[in-house]
């Protein structure tokens, strides 16, 4: 039943994977050709993605005036998988920014890495809505539960952040 609800649930597997990669890379070193700083960026971005997603759906459900499907732009009732709203979208940026700025304040992120983390979280959250609208709850895709979508979501967030970090940092 929960797969029919827009549920925002934690998925720390990506975060822990980034943590382990940071550990293996050692401070200032590399693991699989990626520096420890980028893995830390991936870690912060994965949590930023989670909070961005949580903010988007929870604020969307609470304050969203018009909600529509991200794929067809059809008007749907709040709480539908893949539904987006202006209020939720604005909240998703706030959610991503809160974690990213915390990362900056504890010295995890450099000032230049903060927008990358926020951007990655925002894009990943919208990809999650697309996944929710197209794949989740479909026949033959029962394994595509909310938790699986969330894991993919955080993975995408971390990957976008690391890729952008490689290009721009």
């Amino acid at each position: 039943m929960s797969s029919f609800l827009v549920a925002t649930r934690g998925s720390a597997a990506t975060g822990l994977a980034c943590g382990l990669a940071t550990y293996f890379a050692d401070k200032g070193g590399k693991f699989l050709g990626i520096t420890s700083e980028l893995y830390i960026l991936g870690y912060v971005a994965s949590l930023a993605t989670k909070l961005s997603d949580t903010f988007a759906s929870e604020i969307g459900k609470a304050y969203g005036k018009t909600t529509f499907l991200i794929t067809t732009l059809q008007r749907v009732s709040p709480g539908t998988e893949g539904a987006i709203s202006a209020e939720g979208t604005a909240a998703s940026i706030v959610g991503g920014a809160l974690i990213s700025l915390f990362g900056l304040s504890v010295g995890f992120l450099s000032p230049k890495a903060v927008p990358i983390s926020i951007f990655a979280a925002f894009v990943a959250t919208n990809i999650e809505s697309v996944l929710g609208a197209t794949l989740q709850g479909k026949k033959n895709l029962e394994w595509m539960t909310n938790e699986v979508v969330n894991f993919i979501n955080t993975l995408i967030g971390a990957a976008i952040a690391i890729a952008c970090g490689m290009l721009f940092l």
């Binding site: 929960s2 609800l5 827009v6 549920a7 925002t8 649930r9 934690g10 998925s11 720390a12 597997a13 975060g15 822990l16 943590g19 382990l20 940071t22 550990y23 050692d26 401070k27 420890s36 830390i40 870690y43 912060v44 949590l47 989670k50 909070l51 949580t54 903010f55 929870e58 604020i59 459900k61 609470a62 304050y63 709040p78 709480g79 909240a91 959610g95 809160l98 974690i99 915390f102 990362g103 504890v106 010295g107 995890f108 938790e147």
Partner: protein, 189 residues
């Protein structure tokens, strides 16, 4: 349910204390072999000459009149200097930048933190979720240190806060998170 966790928390405290002692024993010679050599040195210095231990701890002048007072003073010094050793070791683990905190220390720290925060955390997590979060917290502290840990806890607190926004309205519409937003193991991982 919270009562169950509290009683578990008590046995946890004892276990953590033992674990801490073991960790400190290994890292700073708190009660173990590492300190014994220094103790012997102190006893073989009965004239009370000032000297420095390997970790720069200044031993106050001792002017013993009997063998008993040597033992007492030595015990006191052992406690004083071991206290001096523990603090840097603990601070190092607590504030370690790049993570790399030994797993046992990370676990011990997390048990303490989770016991301290348990009344708050159990509002956000189910009982099972609590223990899964403890495992996650240990992993994060060991690999990323306190920054990684606090970032994740911030996510948990903010995420839970926003889930509770207009909870009654969401419940009426049937689109609220189950269990009043408390997270179980499947939400932690």
């Amino acid at each position: 349910m919270i009562g169950t966790i509290s009683s578990i928390g008590y046995s946890y405290k004892i276990f953590t204390l033992l674990l801490f002692l073991q960790v400190l024993d290994q890292s700073s010679g708190f009660v173990g072999v590492g300190r014994k050599a220094t103790l012997t040195q102190k006893v073989s210095n009965p004239l009370g000459v000032r000297y420095q231990t390997p970790n720069q701890a200044i031993i106050p002048v001792v002017r013993p009149h009997s063998t008993q007072s040597i033992t007492q003073q030595t015990k006191l010094h052992a406690i004083q200097s071991s206290a001096r050793d523990i603090l840097p070791a603990l601070t190092k683990s607590l504030l370690s930048y790049g993570g790399k905190v030994p797993l046992s220390q990370a676990f011990a720290l997390n048990v303490f933190l989770f016991i301290g925060l348990r009344s708050k955390l159990l509002k956000l997590l189910t009982n099972q979720g609590f223990f899964h979060a403890l495992a996650l917290g240990t992993g994060l502290w060991a690999t990323l240190g306190w920054r990684g840990w606090t970032t994740c806890v911030l996510y948990l607190f903010l995420g839970s806060a926003v889930t509770k926004v207009k909870m009654q309205e969401k419940e009426k519409l049937g689109i609220a998170e189950g269990r009043g937003g408390r997270r179980g193991p499947e939400n932690v991982w």
